[in-house]
Amino acid sequence: MTMQTDPRANGAKPLVELKDIRIAFGGVQAVDGVSLDLYPGEVVGLLGHNGAGKSTLIKILSGAYKADSGEIWINGEKATINSPRDARRYNIETIYQTLALADNLDASSNLFLGRELTTRLGFVDDARQEAETRKIMARLNPNFRKLSEPVSALSGGQRQSVAIARAVYFNARILIMDEPTAALGVHETAMVADLIKELKAQGLGIFLISHDTREMMDLCDRVSVMKNGQLIGTERVEDVTEDDILSMIIMGKNPKREAA
């Protein structure tokens, strides 16, 4: 069963290929020669301690940082991503750990930030934005009502919904989720998990960052473990146990490969 759903088995082109990515901040090699790939309809988990370089790597793909060296290939073509705007052009959407919401604006202004809907005269069309926000929220979080209040007045789960809606609304093909459930309750975490499965079924490629190993085993097709900026290994989840992954995270060694 797993072999049939493995997108790589039927000769699909990788959606994303990161090749030998390196970036340093003032002498610290935050990402040190990491290569990763992602296929359509696949969830790849990134694991590692705080400071292992996961978020930095992902921010290179989302355009927040520029790599010192290495290449990014999207759909088999070399891509140039110098800014978040470039990344959006490649249909890469990111849900940041910090959510990246402007607290003083309402949900719809945040959802459309940088991509406002405008009237014929070029003015921001608040009414249409609000109507669209209501539509997508009805799908993602039916309890969401506070459309015209600043997002600072929302609960953690509601804020998360806004951040997710922003990524999903614009027909992302590549989705990056940095700790999407870290601030959520049990019920909302389950909702996010369902959403990830739904988006995966629609053929999106998803990079997922989390500290919750069990959640990762449940949601991901493959997991990549990083330590000190280097990639320790990438494994299919059915090939490893949770303990294998933990030892990769902690020891920085791949027990399966060393046993072989």
Partner: protein, 440 residues
Amino acid sequence: MSETDTVPNAAPSTRPAPTAPKRSFLSQLELDLRLLGMIGAFIIVCVVFNVLTDGRFLTPRNIFNLSIQTVSVAIMATGMVFIIVTRHIDLSVGALLATASAVMAMMQTRWLPDLVGLELGHPALPWLSIVAGLVVGAGIGAFHGWLVGYLTIPAFIVTLGGLLVWRNVAWYLTSGQTIGPLDATFQSFGGINGTLGAQWSWIVGAVGAVFAALAMLSARRNKAAHGFKVKPFWAEAAVIGIIVAAILGFVAVLNAYEIPSRVVARDFAARGLEVPEGYIAAYGIPYSVLLLVGVAVAMTVIARKTRLGRYIFATGGNPDAAELSGVNTRLLTVKVFALMGGLVAISAVVASARLTNHSNDIGTLDELRVIAAAVIGGTALSGGIGTIYGAILGALIMQSLQSGMAMVGVDAPLQNIVVGTVLVAAVLIDIIYRRRVGGK
């Protein structure tokens, strides 16, 4: 091996669902409480001074004077809102006003007549000067913005330096002399020397009232078209009625300020005519006030209805979020400071025209008045929050306090002590209000 320690246990969903509060009369009107508070404060100031001055404060003449005295600071305060909302500050506006004023004064009295050969009184003089002033103001503003945005020097430092630099650039340009008299057309932007007269004031007032009513109705229609709840029609009509009454009432007051008969006689004599029997002329709306209204409308539209405005507020609320959403925050900083510079140049026209000349100390301490107006008007120094109408009301409250105390005969040092205290108290009240309503 369990990893349950990483499972978050926050459960915000256990909070009781917010029920719709019973809608009071005021809440059905959907008025901005902060705006009402400021209008209330302004009315109290006016009434108290009116009592203290035995009714001299609220006369057409004094209201006219208050309006034209407020314009210069109010125009700059609208720009300062954007600066402060994006978490910056501009300490150089008073000095920049002096430089823009000096450029415009020198253009129309020396450079254009002497170097280009346009004789004094040439109709193109005032307009070329104003264009030059605007270019210089916006250019210097953009330069400040570049230093802040691209070279990442704190705005406080850039504009503190600017305060010294531009004040003395103005001095150099004019060799410290007072330059005047300025062109007659140019002077008409100063207030008393350029007004619409009664008839045109009514026409402009009526057009403005109709425009305001239509704008509110069209916003209502747009909301309803997308299926959103709109306030009951009687509430909408009441708000429109209040606004229309306020506009026409203001026009009526300005039209009630009659031109003194000796001034009328002088004007008629200048045209070689006799004053007809029983002839009465009113000042009406000053051009400078129209200019302020135009700036206020334009800045409000920018703030609320354009991407630029949305990005300004988003950047103020969370610069990282704006950056990650694809907003070029560096370029935005340049735009915001350039806009401030342009508005300073407009204020320089009004300020120098009101004085009928450019003097070396023009705009001194204006930076403090402008910042105070924006802050009294509810602009938060932490960024992300502020309104254009608030800043203008703030400027009006400050000017009313100042001239009211002068009329009552309060000692000069005491006047500034009061204004300073009011500034701090206003911010305290604002903080308490925000805490109550649960904002930041």
